[in-house]
Symmetry: C2
Subunit: 740 residues, 2 copies
């Protein structure tokens, strides 16, 4: 594609960039831009590449190859096309940029430095891969740092995040923009390498963005044809352009991405006015300019002292100068801060006018800009006296809350990986998030203001896209997702990224124990909970009845920097209005049934849908054996660990010299901190109806009672010390499928 | 597409099917087949659909919709096209069939019954969703049952398994077939619904099969346009045919998949002689024949008594008869057992001839058919005296073993998700698994006999494809995979399926602690181990040095029904030739340094790459405080749990009244069974070099020693009972990112 933009013959100072005209996604119609000369671009790229080589050479490591290859793309983005403010990287209507190939972060860091982001000093740049604590230049981009929208690194995640960011814009625009008042109209630019286009999570997200016609998303492919293992065709020979067209993208080729800044600008500018998401396939050379350019050797390594010197000489630079950025290169970017401030000022001014004409809508919008919920969520939680008393599946109890939140508060987005009926997440008068074009084409109910999201059968993308929604502006959205708990294994890498970034979201995880029944062992989530209980900054909550479900939602909404998984039953659960408590749930564990006068033989710990077995066992122990038990409900380990030592001891009474037994249809692994014995699942399950599978694996008061009785008698006889080093797994220990 | 096969005007008995001619992938050139009349097909389909409706109606649940929609496809497969033997479902050269949309299992069960699989009685069919223990008709297909190649259900997995099965054939054929002797030439048929084409794992696997030109793979798309949430276009509007062509498939359309058996047969037969993998897009109607056909309501539900009766009447069947299969329908399939026996007999005869002409190759092949390794693996494990003594990264120690196994034994396939250099898995003279066509086109080193697999950046498909390789014929292949341990989160759902199915494989998981360093928190696998330690039938082994690495491989190879994850360091590790032991590793934990005369104050548990801290702390405790420690190495919790109580107590000495402290750069969660305190990671990490990040998080003898000293003194003063209910997390407990 030949550049169609006007090129200045010679640099004549910083050209003005005209302000916003009526394009679909923000500023910069192609004709508004005046580019500097190719020679000037080359000069900036030469310096850029040399500095990248210097930084990696310091410690003899780091990723130099992609940053050097992507120099022209960076100039096109940060100098010409992106709408942002280096003075205030977080201004609300900024274009979002995601570096999905996060290992190329040095590229982004250096551009942030050049355009004037204050925290990104040259000293900070030099701290890449150093021993500096809390450097703003970590080995992959981190959301905590200025100019970074999301933490990336695990490949494909950033691409899915970008889809979420673009959705956020579409939803806000459809909800709040009024004719003549585009208070939200930013683009989302996402840089990807080969990996993001190979990873399943990236492919799932790409399909959705195509389906949703997210024309405010531009995916920029750094097509350098090289991966760690060699040339990319060692594992991939598909026709990516045709594939992307079939997935609903406008596809644009750039053939000389190493130096043709104008062609890149052209393609990027065209993306703003596309009717579909845009995929720009840019051919670049990894490690451009180095002797090993175009090979895997330059992917994740420094070039070596001699080669860095040679490279500089070949660029006409002084090999003795390190980390040297001449003033003319800084000057090249010197218009950016002012332009950014102008962007932000224009947006602020537009907001004032908008507020004047749409005061109610503007008030809600401003709340959301401030990261506050747009409605009173407390009214969406049933009061204790409104809770059911008859047996109710906790997925149903949760549905009541989800539906109220989804229906009444614009901050909540409710989505599901094709399990609307099973997860009970649909609500009255819901509007789907869909392209309005599909409303006509397929007769679908929906438009971009819709807040019910059909993710298809794509759990990983669902959670990774939710990360983008949550990261758009923390607090503006609280994404909710819904699938079976076992499928949170598909999504695990995305949930981990939410936890790492402190992104709030609520995952409705139904069918959470062997009680799921006939679907069998593939669908019974044995062992999945251990992952989320061990994972920092995740709340994994298993409520035992509707009242605890209420507590779980309260915890999830209050946890503004934390993803929460609410783990729910398929089957009906006995309700315990006399015992269960939302306040107790918020403490993670609490006394469900106390012993009189501290006179007890054993503490039974009931968890989630297995609480019924604890309560029934308590009765049988007393009736048949005169054994007195107290019962503890334990919906959330992490919430419990936040409590004081005194509270914890008051709940579990570990020093009373009596044993504790936990009852949960998951492996015992991880319960040893709180219990001496367990009724648990240490194998995979079977395809049987709920009642029968529980019985088969020993979850029945008749099975549990004699085991607890024996334990109590043993402790009476030999003292509690007998249990040290002898955790009793009543259903057998951690199993393995072979004999030595 | 109009059927081009000869149709019989009237049924004239069972037509003979000619035996194998020289086609690329087994039997059945189109011209060899004679089809029964459309009327006969309709009759069989009517009965089939009525019986499906009856079975689901029994318990008012189950998946009736897809099985009813796929009736014609089933006839095409089981009556005409597939090469298999219902008398011996496991005969080696059978075509493999995978039902990736596993919820449609009733369809497969009923066809297995009709073609004469003995265990699949009518009584068993009626046990679907019943309380019958170990029914051969569980809610999803399970590998343990006759005629089921792999357990499916979690969507997308089966499709990736099918790619592995097709690779297995290609690799065996390229290794053992000789001109005139095709001892392996089976096809792999894989049925998919919408979901498998949306799930990332399916998309990754499809890309690879296209890249590898697996023309022995046929993906059959039951395109009924309906998912749980409604019409499929609610979440997907891509052009699937174009996308599949761009991914390297021959695409064939069948427009009337509800009844046009001939068109389906035609498409399937064409797949056998395709030069690429085949994708058959078959339009069907979910719940065909029922009043709610073509809607989501029929996906996962029974039809209702009245509707079942109406349906039967509409088919001209007697509504009073239930589960009724008339003799003429059985007769329709009555040639199958004989044909299957003939297939198998022909293969056995071919094998005899092959053996006579190629005795050495045949001997190895027969070993592998018997599920035995084709070489002496013990020679690939370095002897104790050959181990390094200088600091060595365990990824490097593992590389020595992997390379020997890969280089010398045909049973081992070594693959990586684009981390060949980092994971140290490449070996001398390796040949890549590639299509020979690409050797010409791209100059790639490889052909189908290659056993080094470049999976690209597709961890989930890598592990799911490995499941197919392992399931081809248990023991014929031991797949090995390699990636960073943190990316085992991407692959978790596939590893779980391996564990559930008892599939042996070895996962080389490098960069396994915060010691990975500069790549930062996204790459530091905090919390991932908890998943695999809790998961039934997985060996997660963290060796502390080269000798323990040897033990880990021995365990992995001996565990013939178990996936093993060998968890390895990026950074160099001190070697402990005086202490470490492969025999101890095989027991999961063992005494590394014993106390003299049982005189000790504390047991330090060192794990994997953190063993060094335990050993250094031991020295410092003694030197600075006169505190005597014993040290336990604990590479594998599950192996340890297999040991006798006596052995366990001899290692941990829980009754000695002394505390135990575990040192591992993962969360403490799960160690409470064995330790009273921990030095652990209960937050995510940071981007810092290995040494600095360890120090930052308190992993240094100078940090650990005073904490252990305090603990020892407290226990001396107050007794061991003081620790009950007070696990000491020296680095802080399970953290959360918000304040209440």
């Amino acid at each position: 594609m030949a550049p169609t933009l006007e090129l200045l013959e010679k640099p004549t100072g910083i050209p003005p960039v005209k302000t916003v005209s009526a394009t679909r996604n923000g500023t910069s119609a192609a004709s508004d831009l005046k580019l500097e000369s190719p020679e000037k671009h080359q000069r900036v790229m030469d310096v850029f590449r040399a500095v990248i080589a210097d930084i990696c050479q310091q410690y003899g490591e780091g990723h130099a190859g992609s940053p050097m290859g992507m120099a022209a793309i960076g100039i096109a983005l940060w100098k010409y096309v992106m709408k942002y403010s280096p003075i205030n990287c977080n201004y609300f209507n900024r274009d979002r940029f995601v570096l999905s190939n996060g290992h190329a972060c040095l590229w982004q860091y250096l551009f942030l430095h050049l355009v004037g982001v204050k925290s990104m000093t040259l000293e900070q740049l030099k701290s890449y891969h150093s021993t500096k604590l809390d450097s703003v230049c970590p080995g992959h981009p981190e959301i905590e740092n200025e100019g970074i929208e999301v933490t990336t690194g695990p490949l494909g995640q950033g691409l899915a995040n970008a889809v979420g960011l673009a959705m956020a814009t579409k939803n806000l625009a459809a909800t709040y923009n009024k004719p003549g008042h585009d208070v939200v109209n930013n683009m989302t630019w996402c840089m990807v390498g080969d990996a993001c286009l190979q990873e399943g999570v990236g492919l799932e997200a790409l399909s959705l963005a195509g389906h949703w016609r997210l024309n405010n998303l531009c995916v920029i492919f750094d097509n350098n044809s090289v991966t760690c293992d060699g040339t990319a065709d060692v594992a991939n020979t598909e026709d990516i352009n045709t594939k992307m067209r079939a997935t609903g993208y406008n596809v644009v080729d750039v053939y000389n991405g190493d130096s043709d800044v104008a062609a890149v600008v052209n393609a990027l500018v065209a993306a703003r006015s596309s009717d579909k998401p845009t995929f720009i396939n840019i051919r670049t050379t990894i490690g451009f300019g180095s002797a090993i350019a175009g090979t895997a050797d330059v992917h994740g390594a420094a070039l070596g002292v001699d080669e860095v010197a040679r490279l500089k000489r070949s660029f006409g630079l002084n090999p003795e100068e390190h980390f040297h950025i001449p003033q003319d290169v800084y000057d090249f970017f010197s218009d950016i801060p002012g332009r950014g401030e102008a962007h932000e000022a224009a947006w602020q001014a537009a907001l004032v006018k908008y507020h004047a004409e749409n005061p109610i809508l503007a008030a809600e919008f401003e709340l959301r800009v401030a990261g506050k919920l747009s409605g009173d969520w407390t009214k969406c939680i049933p009061r204790k006296e409104e809770q059911p008393t008859a047996s109710t599946a906790s997925r149903k109890s949760a549905g009541v809350v989800t539906n109220a939140l989804g229906q009444n508060i614009n901050s909540f987005l409710v989505g599901t990986a094709d399990l609307t009926p099973s997860c009970n997440v649909s609500y009255k008068n819901k509007v789907d998030f869909q392209s309005p074009e599909l409303q006509t084409a397929c007769g679908l109910n929906g438009n971009y203001s819709g807040r019910y999201i059909h993710y298809g059968i794509r759990e990983h993308a669902m959670c990774a896209i939710s990360n983008g929604l949550a990261a758009f502006n923390k607090g503006t959205f609280i994404p909710m997702t819904a699938t079976y708990f076992v499928f949170h294994l598909y999504a695990a890498a995305a949930v981990r990224m939410a936890a790492l970034q402190g992104l709030q979201q609520i995952h409705i995880a139904t069918h959470d124990s062997i009680g799921v029944g006939e679907n069998g062992p593939t669908h019974q989530p044995v062992a999945v909970a251990a992952l989320y209980r061990a994972m920092p900054n995740v709340l994994y909550i298993r409520p035992c009845d509707a009242e605890e479900v209420a507590g779980a939602y309260i915890a999830a909404i209050q946890a503004t920097e934390t993803p929460t998984i609410i783990s729910l039953s398929r089957q009906g659960l006995t309700q315990y209005p006399q015992h269960s408590s939302r306040e107790g749930t918020l403490k993670g564990a609490y006394v469900f049934v106390e012993a009189e006068d501290d006179d007890f033989d054993v503490t039974l710990i009931g968890v989630g849908s297995e609480m019924g077995f604890a309560m029934q066992t308590r009765e049988l122990l007393l009736k048949d054996h005169g054994i007195k038990s107290r019962v503890v409900s334990f919906p959330c380990i992490r919430l419990f660990e936040q409590q004081s030592r005194e509270y914890k001891h008051s709940v579990l009474k570990p020093r009373a010299g009596k044993p504790s037994v936990v009852i949960e249809a998951y492996p015992s692994y991880g319960w040893e901190r709180y219990a001496d014995a367990s009724v648990s699942m240490n194998s995979f399950g079977k395809s049987l109806p709920s009642k029968e599978i529980y019985e088969h694996y020993g979850f029945a008061p008749e099975s549990i009672t004699p085991k607890v009785k024996d334990l109590v008698e043993e402790v009476r006889r030999d003292g509690i010390g007998i249990l040290r080093g002898d955790f009793r797994d009543f259903n057998g220990g951690l199993r393995i499928g072979f004999e030595h």
